[in-house]
Symmetry: C2
Subunit: 228 residues, 2 copies
Amino acid sequence: MKKAVVLLSGGLDSATTLYVAQHRGFECVCLIFDYGQRHRKEIENARTIAHKAHCAWQIVKISLPWKGSSLLDRKMSVHSTPTVHSIPLTYVPARNIIFLSFALSCAEAIGASGIFIGANAIDYSGYPDCRPEFYQAFVKAAGLGTKTGAQGRPIKIITPLIAKTKAEIIKLGMKLGVPYALTWSCYKGAKAPCGVCDSCKFREKGFREAGVRDPLIRKLGFEYVWKD
Amino acid sequence: MKKAVVLLSGGLDSATTLYVAQHRGFECVCLIFDYGQRHRKEIENARTIAHKAHCAWQIVKISLPWKGSSLLDRKMSVHSTPTVHSIPLTYVPARNIIFLSFALSCAEAIGASGIFIGANAIDYSGYPDCRPEFYQAFVKAAGLGTKTGAQGRPIKIITPLIAKTKAEIIKLGMKLGVPYALTWSCYKGAKAPCGVCDSCKFREKGFREAGVRDPLIRKLGFEYVWKD
C-alpha cells in the first residue's frame, strides 16, 4: 500500500486533507506539530481525528524561541489588523517550510511517496506559505536536497485543497465523512470559538456558504455571533 | 549593523563560516541543533566557539523519531560503505532543509538579512543537501514562502565554502583566526577522533594538504593513524 505523510493541525482543512489522502488509497502517517501555538488545544483535536481515521500519528515538538507571531506571543492580538502587504500578525515565520521539512524527513525515513498538506489560497489569511507557487518551488528544492530526489524518486507534495473555497472544502469533507465536530479552528484556543479571529470567520463563512450547520457549533450548543 | 543567522555545528566548516560572516561585517546569531546526533559533543564545541567569537547563540532541540540515519541510530555503522548512488548511511533525511527552515524563521523574526551555512560540495560525503543547485532552489522557495520574500526583501542564503577544498577552507580559517582546536568533526563522538569515519578523513586530508598540523590533534597530544 502506498504511504503518505499528512500534516494534521486539528483544523478543518487538514482533517479534510487526511480523508482525501485515505480516499486516494494512501496509508497515512499524521504529523502533529506542537510549536508553542496559543491554540494548543488543536493538538488534542488532531490526535482525536487521527485516531478516528485509524491512522498512525506522531507529535513533533519544536521550539521557536524567537517568536515573531501573535500565535506564539500571547501579548499580541490574533485579530485581523491591517499590516504591511496584508500579511496578518498571526503569520508564523517560515512555519509551513518548517513543517514540510520535517514531513520530508519523515517521508524519506518511512518510505512514503507523498506529503499531503491542507494549504489553501482562496479563503485564507494571506500567508505567503499557502500559495501554489511556493509549493512548486519547494518541491524542486526538496527534490534536489534529498536522497530520494537524487535517486530519481522525488517525494510529491500534494495540496488537494489549494484552489478550493472553504465551502467547497466542507462539501467535499461532508461527502468523505470528515468528523468536523472534532476539528478546531479558532486561534484563541479558549473553550468556545471566539467567532472573530480570521480562522473563525473563514470557518463560519465556509459552513454558511456550503449550507451546512457547523457540527462543532451544534455540539457546543450555541451559534457564532457574526461580527463583520 | 547588518545581522545574519549562522548554522553552527561545532565542526570545522561551520566554525570557519562563522568567522567569514563576522569578517564580512555581520552581527551573527548562531543556531546550534541538538537533533539526537550520536556525536552530541559537537554541541558543546559549537557553544564554546560561539562564546569565543562573542556571538549570541541558541540551541534548537529537535526530535527526528523516524531516524533513518547512522548518525541517529547507534546500531548502524558510521563508516563509509558503498550505498545506492553513493549517499552514505550517515545521511540524515532532509537535515539541511530542516536546519535552513529554522534559520529562515529565526532570520525573519530577528530581522536578519542572511543565513550563513558551511555546506561544501568538494571534499564532502556526497550528501544531496550540500550541492549548490539545492541552495539555489531553496532560496527561491524561501523567497516565495516567507513574509520578507513577499515584501521584496528575501533572505539570502550564503554558502561561502561551497566550492572550496578542505585545504582551502583551513587556509582561509587560519587567516581569520578560527580556533580549530575547539572544533569537532568525528561522527563517533568519543573522547578522541576515530580517524576512520568520512568526517575524520576529510579533516585529516584537509590539514595535510594545507600543510598545517591540526590544532585539535596537537591539543589531544597524538596523531591520527591514517587508514585508507
